[in-house]
Amino acid sequence: MSEQIAEAGRGSVNAANLTRNDYKGAPSTLCQGCGHNSIASQIVAACYELDLVPEQVAKFSGIGCSSKSPTYFLGRSFGFNGLHGRMPSLALGAMFGDHRMKGIGVSGDGDTASIGMGQFKHLVRRNLPFVYIVENNGVYGLTKGQFSATAEKGLELKKQGHNPYTPVDICMEALVANATFVARSFAGDPKQVKELIKAAFSHRGIAVIDIISPCVTFHNHDESLHSYVYGKAHETPLHDITFVPAREEITIEDFEQGSVREVELFDGSRLVLKKLESDYDPSNRWRALAMMDEAEKNGILLTGLIYVNTEQPSMYDLYNLPDEALNRMSSDRLRPTRESIDALNASMF
């Protein structure tokens, strides 16, 4: 490591020979203390630690506070800030430009659970390899404090009064739509957020991470599900999560044999789940749904890897794509031959 520092002369570098700064974006214009800023920092940290080349990552978002945040990380990555609730379709089309790239989308509860519900669930069912983060605060911040579809029933907000409706649970929706990687975290738990993002990037399929991210301006009452105080008091991690990249040797002893569960991801990296209280099996979808339902009844914010399925083919596997990027194909490979037109005309009759 010290050699690398000397060589680069710009602080620590990772295996991609890049510094942390190479993964940063523009300064945030979100509120001081916003959970979204903390998540942006963990995206930077995760990509740095994964040695991703920023040019090989594309980032997307919809509309809302959360959707502004792609500007605040990965300044050297291509990005597209789309329409409200319609980031999934934009990202899907774009990722086929160069399917070797990694994709990450940042959405919010307003963007995903309202207008975007349809596109969200259809992206999920297509299993596009893509990290889909929902920065979930239960409130519309950019329009100054209206209820979102994830706001809990009975919530009081200054301007809106009382929320009469039951909330949408994004992890449940993802599970029901057959998502192959579903996690929940809390912006106040940066280590878990980071480990989950790293695992999500290594998953070959859709990886949904619902991150409770308190809104410090419009929605941070101590008793509210989406607040810091509530999150800190009621967060119950399912397990301690450690992400181990493929290139690193793993010794199970490091994790107290007998109390760990390993999940091998697409690129050979592994997610080590260190058992806490229950022996939770993240490969059982029904169990996951039942457990989340139980937690919700008890007012517990369950965090961790809720469900993973590494067997399901990804969307790319459903197409007979060349190994190289489609967007680098030369014209002569895209236009049928001159001779073919005669056969075509003959077939028209």
Binding site: Q56, A58, L90, G93, G118, A325
Partner: protein, 613 residues
């Protein structure tokens, strides 16, 4: 040439009518008549006779009345006729009504099990033993309904003189050489022809004779042609959602891509087709792919185009190439979803919110659908903007005789895309600077990099929010104004780069006609009819928007220019008026909307009535 029904005189009764009449088949939706009708169409085409077929069908899968009209025209006219020379009435529900449409001296064919009264005495009537002939055919009972329609194919073959060999070829083509299917149909055709020969005394005057007028032509529909043109244009991504009458455009990709678009190097697929969850997603996918450097498109109809509106604005403002095919149907609302119109023109021109302008291409024939298929992709990437191609149900779903598809005569235009080395040069040339929205060449078109470029300075952030020449967020008033003015200048600069209008003149013509798209066929015929009545006309067919300068000159040079189109509000006239306010009084609206394709007779009448004033 007039098409007016006139009283039958003794003289006309004996005069043969050769290769110039219309047959209408009245059947029940879902009864398998399409095979019989296209078989006749193809057989006539194979005989070298110009022919065209139009489906007039309800928004229904099975059970409601449906019509297919087959026009045989030695002059090569392809437009709809407002009369029926020969009616094949297979549907008891419409039998009585159907009789009324037959011209005097015309022909009525019907299955003899229809026991309803024939009330006309001035037409020739041939009942056909459909039940008996299909029962005699050795096919499973459940297929009898399907082959029943082959009875009228055989009877007409005998009555009109259609070559049975050509019918066999048509069936062979339809069933892709599958012997059992060909023979079970062909045997019925032959049996019916033999029955007609033995039992019918031909009293009518209609017949066909072989010609040599289909050389260099094919039979095709505009939707397949649009997809094929796009395939030759190197389309790489198609996001679509089913909607009548556009579905068969996207479905044609599934049919032709495996044959035409395997990568010559790897044998892999070079085009991705995704059926999306709705039109909101179809356009989102297509724009994402266009942004990432793929030649991308979607296809839809009016209601779907409305749903795409917001994303179209984002593509316009982020300067993302994408092609949208709008196969128009009758709106507003669900309207008449299986009928044809040209009513989405102003929607397309002004789609989305704020100040936005869109390039529109308007193919006027099936051959042009093919050509505009590849051209649209070139134009979209060249100008880095959405391109809307306006077809319609008549052009898209009906079988037209059209010139053979021609191989693109221009190399693919991928526009200003910078890969790693290009970008390095650009940065060096720009003293270390490059900006996604910088107008480097003074042609209002900036350079772009696409996702996957590995140059460390290649990335930029596409956003719908205000941005400067470097793609950075800004709300500076002067930057907003400057960026919007460049976008307008870019749009304006496309005028003469788009398919230019097609102009046809006649000696001594004082008046002009401007039209577009599928109305072309009826306009061509109407001009011949008016010339026969000493009213020569000049004709300009608009093929793209924004309009070329030639359009302005055409309007200026004619004191009266009739704008012929298939909608209620005269939408083409509206756009022409906006573009040429000083010439607005030259323009006369001749627009009509009843869900059916325009006819020459209607156009002629409108213009001649106006001219007589």
């Amino acid at each position: 040439m007039t098409q007016e029904p006139t009283a039958v005189t003794e003289n006309q009764q004996t005069q043969a009518i050769v290769n110039d009449f219309c047959i209408t088949f009245s059947t029940v939706n879902g009864s398998g008549s399409a095979t019989a009708n296209t078989t006749l169409l193809r057989a006539l085409f194979k005989m070298g006779i110009p022919v065209t077929g139009k489906n007039i069908f309800p928004s229904n899968i099975q059970g409601l009345p449906t019509w297919f009209t087959l026009r045989i025209s030695k002059q090569g006219y392809l437009a709809r006729l407002e009369k029926d020379d020969i009616v094949v009435a297979m549907n008891p529900a419409t039998f009585s009504k159907e009789q009324e449409y037959v011209v005097p001296g015309g022909v009525l064919l019907y299955p003899d099990d229809i026991k309803l009264a024939v009330t006309r005495t001035d037409i020739h009537v041939y009942p056909m033993p459909v039940k008996k002939l299909t029962k005699d055919a050795e096919v499973p009972p459940k297929l009898r309904d399907y082959i029943a329609n082959m009875v009228y194919v055989g009877v007409l073959a005998n009555l009109l003189g259609i070559d049975l060999e050509k019918i066999y070829q048509a069936l062979d083509f339809h069933f892709k050489g599958k012997k059992s299917a060909i023979m079970s149909n062909y045997n019925v055709v032959v049996a019916a022809a033999e029955w007609a020969k033995a039992n019918l005394e031909k009293k009518d005057n209609y017949r066909v004779e072989p010609m040599n007028a289909t050389e260099g032509y094919i039979m095709a529909d505009g939707n397949a042609a649009g997809a094929l043109g796009s395939i030759y244009g190197g389309v790489q991504f198609v996001g679509w959602y089913p909607i009548t009458p556009a579905s068969s455009l996207a479905e044609s990709f599934q049919e032709y891509l495996p044959m035409l678009r395997k990568d010559p190097v790897t044998g892999k697929d070079t085009c991705v087709v995704v059926q999306s969850e709705d039109e909101l997603a179809a356009i989102g996918m297509a724009i994402g792919a266009g942004w990432a450097g793929l030649r991308s498109m979607t296809s839809t109809s009016g209601p779907g185009l409305s749903l795409m509106s917001e994303y179209m604005g984002l593509a316009y403002y982020t300067e993302t190439p994408v092609v949208v095919w709008d196969v128009q149907r009758v709106g507003p609302s669900t309207g008449l979803p299986t009928r044809t119109a040209q009513g989405d023109l102003t929607q397309a021109a002004f789609i989305s919110h704020g100040d936005a302008n869109f390039i529109i291409l308007i193919p006027g024939s099936v051959t042009e659908c093919f050509e505009f298929g590849w051209r649209a992709l070139d134009i979209a990437e060249h100008f880095q903007t959405p391109v809307i191609v306006m077809s319609d149900l008549d052009l898209g779903m009906n079988q037209w005789m059209c010139k053979k598809f021609e191989y693109p005569n221009e190399p693919m235009d991928r526009g200003k895309v910078l890969w790693e080395e290009d970008l390095q040069k650009m940065i060096e040339r720009g003293n270390g600077q490059w900006g996604r929205y910088l107008d480097v060449d003074g042609d209002f078109i900036p350079y772009r990099t696409v996702a996957g470029n590995r140059h460390p300075r290649s990335a930029w952030f596409a956003r719908g929010t205000g941005h400067d020449e470097f793609g950075r967020y800004t709300e500076e008033p002067d930057v907003w104004e400057r960026m919007m003015n460049r976008l307008l200048a870019k749009f304006e600069s496309s005028r003469e780069h788009l398919p230019l209008p097609e102009v046809h003149t006649m000696p001594n013509a004082k008046i002009g006609i401007i039209s577009m798209g599928s109305a072309d066929a009826a306009v061509i015929e109407a001009r011949d009819q008016m010339l026969a009545e000493d009213l020569p006309t000049d004709y300009l067919r608009v093929r793209a928007y924004p309009f070329s300068q030639q359009v302005k000159e055409f309007i200026r040079n004619h004191e009266r220019t009739y704008v012929v189109e298939l909608n209620r509000d005269g939408q083409l006239k509206q756009l022409l008026t906006l573009d040429n306010p000083e010439l607005a009084t030259h323009l006369i609206q001749v627009s009509h909307l009843d869900g059916l394709p325009l006819t020459a007779r209607w156009i002629r009448e409108q213009i001649m009535t106006q001219e007589a004033k």
